[in-house]
């Protein structure tokens, strides 16, 4: 979810390209048409939808009477207010918690002699890979007020306290612990780049370690803290899985779940959903803009290109305390949910007479897995997910390559516009992309709606900024001279790209395709509106199981999905690393 700033990348002056008269406009035109088709058309339809009570494609333009009044009416609705307020509260609270955890971890890892720092640093990124719905499911198994495993354990211990994760505080807690890595990523690198003598000066001047932390360290990395805060807020705002799992049972709607609810009513209130989606998009866009502003601003703490001797605070025996805190965090985000899913998936009934019943082996079996795989939809959804992933990776990777090359390596007119259009989706939450694509294609007979392709195209559009950015970086690493040498040897443009640029950029291309594939197979928000029974994907099917109320099947399928994700992740990682090594010899 980081924005591409390809426009800001330096473009080296190049020799004048031999261009044939018609080729350039044709190429630029084609790219612009593709982007308009992927981004502009769905967004425009979303706006039309928000402004009217009809769909111009379905009902014809005759029935289309745009009026701002309708949009304002939706915004005036108190349910919308409530969802908006809930979203701000959940994401605000979650962000605050994420900042606490993220800051604490970056301090432990970068600035102290806590044992096992590298392990802690690696393991604390794990939550990034957990699909939100799986996390939500796990925590509903752990923390549901009556049957939650935590509460059963408390009862067994004789403690008169019960967790209730079906609540705003449960939502905040789960958001906070799972999105802390976003804050950590920013703050840890800022801390690492900060001259340690700034802190030492404070210590020598007589300030305590605590005072130093709050008067010197944190103010100096404030821009990084702010950037991480805004990013995690934006991500939480667009998440559907966690509030669907934990908020819905307590009737707490945030913007994402409310939008989905509107389309699930009968008759579905598509126009209202579009209006709320625009509200969500505007809030997101403002946050993304603010984050870019913060990141592009001059940062106090970092001095580019200077290597500092890392400073590590000698914590004495306190380091075992910080170590224990880190373990507790890892236990809460990784171990506990895994245990919960495993227990729920393998137990015939998720009912415990007492705590000892947890260890009753007779109560465990594979029934839920059998049930899951007896359902023909399961294999279909896995198959569909893989297909969508591959299509997204190939189409998105190729398109991003074309865009990245055009924007970074040529001087054709219109490349700024191409870059801008490719960046727009950064401010659009996945769910909004889904609603927009729904609006754009639902009425077109024989069109995309109902096929795998609409999912893939929505993902291509949604993740375009990330892909283009990843690719642009690898373009910048290829020396222009290599390319020009081929020109001078009489190669044509396509020949040069094929023989020079593509092989050299291969690691970058493979890496961004891998990224796309992984993002696509775990995406839920945009799939929600675009699947049909033939094109269901894993994330959607998991939601079905959850909403069907069968915890055992839900947990079993969560595990299946997690294992598939982990295997694919490992496989693609291995593939892209192999490719990177293969071409290291070329460069």
């Amino acid at each position: 979810m980081t924005a591409t700033n390809a426009a800001a990348l330096p473009v080296a002056d190049s020799v004048e390209r031999p261009t044939r008269g018609w080729a350039t406009p044709l190429w630029v035109g084609a790219l612009l048409i593709i982007l308009a088709f992927l981004v502009i058309y769905p967004l425009a339809m979303l706006f039309f939808g928000a402004l009217s009570d009809s769909n111009p494609v379905v009902d014809g333009f005759g029935a289309f009477r745009p009026s701002i009044a309708r949009f304002l009416e939706v915004l005036g609705n108190e349910n919308v207010h409530l969802a908006f307020f809930n979203a701000l509260l959940a994401c605000g609270g979650g962000t605050a918690l994420a900042v606490l955890i993220g800051l604490f971890f970056s301090w432990i890892v970068v600035r102290t002699d806590t044992p096992g720092r590298r392990f802690i640093a690696g393991a604390s990124m794990v939550p990034l890979f957990v699909p939100p719905l799986v996390a939500g499911v796990a925590w509903s198994i752990l923390g549901s007020p009556k049957t939650g495993l935590l509460n059963i354990a408390l009862k067994w211990l004789g403690i008169d306290f019960r967790f209730d994760f079906y609540s705003m505080s449960g939502l905040i807690l789960v958001f906070g612990i799972y999105y802390a890595p976003y804050v950590y990523m920013f703050t840890s690198s800022a801390l690492r780049n900060m001259d340690p003598s700034l802190e030492e000066a404070s210590e020598v001047a007589g300030a305590s370690a605590f005072t130093t932390l709050f008067t010197v360290t944190f103010p100096l990395i404030a821009p990084a803290i702010l950037a991480g805060m805004l990013l995690s807020f934006v991500v939480m705002l667009g998440i559907y899985g966690v509030p669907a799992a934990l908020g819905a049972p307590a009737n707490i709607n945030v913007l994402t779940t409310y939008i989905f609810k509107l389309t699930a009513w009968s008759p579905p209130l598509y126009n209202t959903a579009a209006a709320v989606a625009i509200l969500l998009m505007v809030v997101t866009a403002i946050m993304v803009w603010a984050q870019q502003k913060v990141l592009s601003g001059k940062s106090f703490a970092t001095v580019a290109g200077k290597a500092f001797r890392p400073r590590s605070l000698n914590l004495g025996s306190w380091r075992w305390f910080t170590f224990a805190l880190a373990l507790v965090y890892l236990f809460i985000v990784v171990v506990l949910p895994t245990i919960a899913l495993v227990i729920a998936a393998f137990r015939k009934f998720l009912f415990f007479k007492d705590f000892d019943a947890v260890f009753d082996t007779k109560a465990y079996s594979l029934v839920h897995f059998n049930a899951v795989f007896d359902n023909p939809l399961t294999m279909l959804s896995i198959w569909n997910t893989l297909k969508v992933g591959v299509i997204t990776a190939l189409v998105g990777g190729a398109l991003a390559f074309a865009i990245g090359y055009t924007v970074n390596r040529t001087h054709v007119p219109g490349r700024k516009l191409i870059d801008l259009l490719a960046t727009v989706p950064v401010a659009i939450p996945g769910l909004v992309v889904g609603v927009a694509y729904l609006w754009a294609w639902i009425g077109l007979p024989g069109g995309l709606y109902g096929t795998i392709w609409i999912l893939a195209l929505a993902f291509v559009a949604r993740f375009m900024p990330d892909t283009v950015k990843a690719l642009s970086t690898s373009f910048l690493q290829i020396h222009r001279e290599l390319e020009e040498a081929a020109w001078i040897c009489g190669r044509g443009l396509l020949g040069t790209i094929g023989t020079i640029v593509l092989p050299l950029a291969r690691p970058g291309v493979v890496a961004s395709m891998t990224l796309l594939f992984v993002l696509a197979i775990r995406e839920l928000g945009s799939s929600l509106f675009l699947y049909t029974s033939d094109t269901t994907v894993m994330a959607v099917l998991l939601l079905d199981y959850y909403e069907g109320g069968n915890t055992g099947k839900t947990a079993a399928f969560s595990l299946v999905q997690t294992v598939i994700l982990a295997v694919l992740l490992g496989l693609t990682n291995w593939l892209s690393r192999g490719s990177a090594q293969g071409s290291a010899r070329v460069g």
Partner: protein, 367 residues
């Protein structure tokens, strides 16, 4: 007020490998400035940071003003903030999110035993001292490098610590500013009567600033003496070479009486030299000699030789000669704008005995 620093047998080892500081001992009486001088990586910064408490020594004892602040053998370690010291860093380390005044007032606000009084008055007085009175309310980031270093100095002086530590405070400044600030730094330190420990690899800085200079190499303190003594009576071949005595003549010791040794240079005869070491007849010796101290064209009573000019390098205000003396090379410097000797000429020269320093030749390297 300022207090004495005493270091006994200080040792610091980072993980494996040879220790960064090994058996360093010296005292700094109250009000004196001691400069640690040595090539890169010799352990100057590590020594200083051990005194500050930012690095934890692995051996020896450090006391400030009579109070032991570090003695690992007894498990004793006082934290930096309780040592009552000031420190100026090479990278300035002024806090960019504060104004000049906020930077300087910071220690007064956050020290546990703040000595009361008007913070503002103290800040103003100190800013006056370092010549920044007009800049008090500017953000630090708007200052030049030299001004930032003055802020850093003011920040470490404002609470009148017992001891001021400075780690190459001038090395990030341009050459001209460095000269100016160097003289000013000495004035300010002397004016405040501060005890100072100053680290640098710049000899000129060391000579101007230090009441005494300690030369370090590979974690060892080789010599600690006033600048004149370092320059005229270097205790060791490395110190002689490091401070600029780049000529080396080799020979065999014939005799020694007290601090004077007589050495056979081979074909050209014998030479008399000062030596701090107990050389005995038959030892291989090397004689260190500054190019400035070769008296070209002079015939004094002792150590008169004849050498051939191999090459002449005219440098405007001085001329450098490459000479051959009995098969050995010798460099000589002649001040003045006129070069008086021609290449290939055979010229007489005197090597004053008190300027020739003999050391035992163990084949050791001098770099």
């Amino acid at each position: 007020m300022s207090a004495a620093l005493s270091i006994e047998n200080l040792g610091k080892r980072f993980g494996v490998g040879r220790p960064a500081v090994d058996g360093v001992s010296f005292d700094v009486p109250a009000g004196e400035i001691v400069v640690l001088l040595g090539p890169s990586g010799c352990g100057k910064t590590t020594t200083l940071r051990c005194v500050a408490g930012l690095e934890h020594p692995t051996g020896g004892r450090i006391s400030i003003g009579g109070r032991v602040v570090s003695e690992p053998e007894r498990g004793l370690l006082v934290s930096p903030r309780e040592r009552d010291i000031g420190m100026v860093f090479q990278s300035y380390a002024v806090w960019p999110h504060m104004t000049v005044r906020q930077n300087v007032a910071y220690p007064l606000k956050h020290r546990r035993k703040s000595r009361g009084g008007d913070i503002n008055a103290k800040v103003n007085e100190t800013l006056e001292l370092v010549g920044l009175a007009d800049y008090a309310d500017r953000p630090v980031v708007s200052l030049s490098g030299g001004q930032m270093q003055r802020v850093a100095l003011a920040r470490s002086l404002v609470y009148r610590p017992q001891l001021l530590l400075l780690d190459e405070p001038l090395s990030n400044l341009d050459a001209k500013l460095r000269l100016r600030l160097r003289d000013e730094l000495r004035r300010i330190l002397k004016q405040t009567g501060m005890t100072g420990l100053y680290v640098t690899h710049d000899q000129a800085e060391a000579v101007v600033l230090g009441d005494r200079i300690g030369v370090m190499r590979d974690g060892h303190l080789l010599q600690m003496a006033p600048p004149g003594e370092i320059y005229n009576r270097p205790a060791d071949a490395f110190v002689a070479n490091f401070t600029g005595a780049s000529n080396v003549l080799r020979g065999k010791v014939l005799a020694r009486s007290g601090e004077t040794a007589t050495i056979d240079l081979g074909g050209v005869g014998r030479i008399e030299a000062w030596t701090p070491q107990p050389l005995s007849a038959g030892d291989q010796a090397r004689i260190a000699l500054r190019a400035e101290n070769v008296r070209l064209g002079e015939r004094a009573e002792r150590n008169v030789f004849s050498a051939r000019v191999l090459e002449r390098r005219y440098q405007g205000t001085q001329t450098v000669y490459d000479l051959e003396l009995g098969g050995q090379r010798l460099e000589a410097l002649e001040l003045g704008t006129a070069a008086r000797h021609d290449p290939n000429a055979e010229i007489p020269l005197t090597l004053p005995p008190e300027m020739c320093w003999a050391y035992r030749d163990e084949g050791q390297s001098l770099d």
